[in-house]
Subunit: 341 residues, 2 copies
DNA sequence: TTGTACGCGTTATCAC
DNA sequence: GTGATAACGCGTACAA
């Protein structure tokens, strides 16, 4: 049996104050005498009061909701990012309404409508389906993470710097040939910087290098097959040369690593390998794998912090419209393990 | 500049209907003539109406919110479970407010209060900190997943059956000695069934066996160190015997697998190993690892479905109080890979 | 089929 | 320092 909720009216009646005073007890307690504060405090426990934030929202418009759309949660990167975002509740008090979008623009639009219906004050977008131009058309503060961001605020990893670090490390490992293996990445996506960084360093030091960009598949099996093909290709093309592999992520790196290791029965000097993200798999691999570690905690915090500042501006009596977009970059950290010297 | 929102009143004025008719258009459209439906539909786009579900909730009490508390998201198990739970939005329409609890009872209670303040209709609890007895004291439908559930409804994996399958498989692999390695598990937790199942099968077939229960640590490093110790211990105690290892999860299994593989340079016939959960790591390991796969999608769906039925009952004019708790079991699926014959 | 009037639980404005 | 009273946007008897 759902017991009927006790409201400010009940408390007011119980304490012989007015509804207004009860409200003030919560929002500006110091405007009451200490004595009266105690009276109300006691009444709250006596009556077992349960606050109703929805009524509050209706009255003052501040939902303290942030909407989130993530592409999935099976990639460790997104799971950890969501984790870190949710953790910011302790710092900012915003609650999160989370949707997982499965690559359909239409469903994603539905999700956004649903979020707007719940009066979210801002959005954090990690999915890639809807263009930033369309996102910007919603009249609400938005921060994206690691996706095309031409028309919206964003926080991204400095992919270029990450690639520079990774490539330089392979270079210092005296590799004869440097290879970057990645799927086809659009120029507008921050991750494109990984390709640029790789190329720039290779050019700068005049290094023999090869860029392998193609659809590598998504399932473990597909990726494994792709890596197997590439492995054989590299062995044929660059026999007895020391090959330095800069992989697009740690899953790819692990797959390639396993192939090499099983083929040799050990970790051969002929190969060097470095992944991206510093996912758990990098540390848990048969040979702990070097990786460019994204500072997920920092990215998440900065994204929420930025969004909070935008939302706060909105709540002011005379909010200044945002004049120019903010794009923050977070520098990745190179994690050196056993797959590089 | 936040444009002021258009409400039912605006639409009513624009169409010369009353507020009530507009409301009916949304909640019982067939009670209007088709012609009038069209008029209102047109007005909605003309005025660019944006529904406000919070006002709706305040009026009818149905928030369509479900609160979730997960312990973390770095374990693949929880991430995938959350993913599957969020996906049920397409089936049931409930939105999810998610909190990550970091093992403090106090913060978890705060989270629950916050959830209640937003008028959630039910809760799904995956964290372990608060006793089911206390959870039951909240006047709201609750379903837990894979945790102590004496006083609440729950959906769990049939851990006992999983252990039976795993142990039987090792037995059929002609192992001389079966070992179950786990942390210390309380009897009240569903996962305790893994220990029972292992023991029962060993007794039944009169198998030489050993139970290693101890704190194995949480970080990758700690786990690795524990596994190393256990590996050396087993080699010393059972030299030249074929050892069948039933591990508590795939992370442990992978750690042990790597140790064995690096020690031998290949996968020796002297060892058989099987993990639990069928996490990605099981397929991505240097030797694809056999595992007892939890049907996370099914568990998630059943949990939400059960919760929805409980919440629906509540919304009826004369809800029947729940007389007895419901505990559902989902049978795990044995995934055979290369670490068992 | 449509409209009137009030309620949902809180905040905001103005008065005292 | 405290209290009336009117919002906030929608649902729902009850009436017409």
């Amino acid at each position: 049996m759902t017991q009927k909720k006790v409201t400010f009216d009940d408390i007011a009646r119980y304490t012989n104050f007015s509804k207004t005073t009860i409200s003030r007890y919560f929002n500006d307690p110091d405007s009451l005498t200490v004595k009266n504060q105690d009276i109300i405090a006691k009444a709250l426990v006596d009556l077992n009061y349960q606050e109703n934030k929805l009524a509050k929202v209706l009255a003052n418009g501040k939902s303290e909701f942030i909407g989130i759309i993530v592409p999935n949660l099976y990639l460790d990167y997104y799971a950890e990012m969501l984790n870190q975002i949710l953790n910011t509740y302790e710092d900012f008090g915003y609650k999160f309404l989370v949707f997982v979008s499965k690559n359909s623009e239409e469903t994603e639009r539905r999700y956004i409508q649903e979020l707007l219906a719940y009066k979210i004050e801002g959005m954090i977008i990690l999915s890639h389906t809807i263009s930033s131009r369309e996102l910007a058309s919603y009249d609400i503060p938005i921060v994206t993470i690691e996706r095309e961001d031409a028309y919206v605020n964003s926080v991204n990893t400095d992919n270029y710097m990450g690639a520079v670090q990774a490539t330089s490390l392979l270079y210092k490992n005296d590799c004869d040939i440097l290879v970057h293996i990645n799927s086809v990445v659009r120029k507008e996506v921050p991750a494109y910087g990984r390709i640029q960084g790789f190329q720039d360093i290779c050019r700068e030091h005049n290094l023999q290098n090869e860029l392998i960009l193609r659809d590598l598949g998504h399932s473990h099996q597909e990726i494994h097959r792709s890596m197997l093909e590439i492995y054989e290709y590299l062995n044929k093309k660059y026999p007895h040369q020391k090959k330095g592999l800069f992989m697009a992520n740690d899953t790819h790196a692990n797959s390639m690593l396993n192939i090499i290791f099983r083929d040799h029965g050990t970790w051969p000097d002929e190969y060097r390998i470095i992944g991206f993200d510093d996912s758990p798999i990098a540390a848990q691999a048969i040979i702990p794998t070097s990786s460019v570690g994204q500072q997920i905690d920092k990215i998440a915090y900065e994204a929420v912090e930025l969004l909070v500042s935008l939302m706060s501006e909105r709540k002011k009596r005379r909010p200044k419209p945002q004049t120019e977009l903010i794009h923050k970059n977070v520098t990745p950290i190179l994690v050196r393990r056993e797959t590089t010297g």
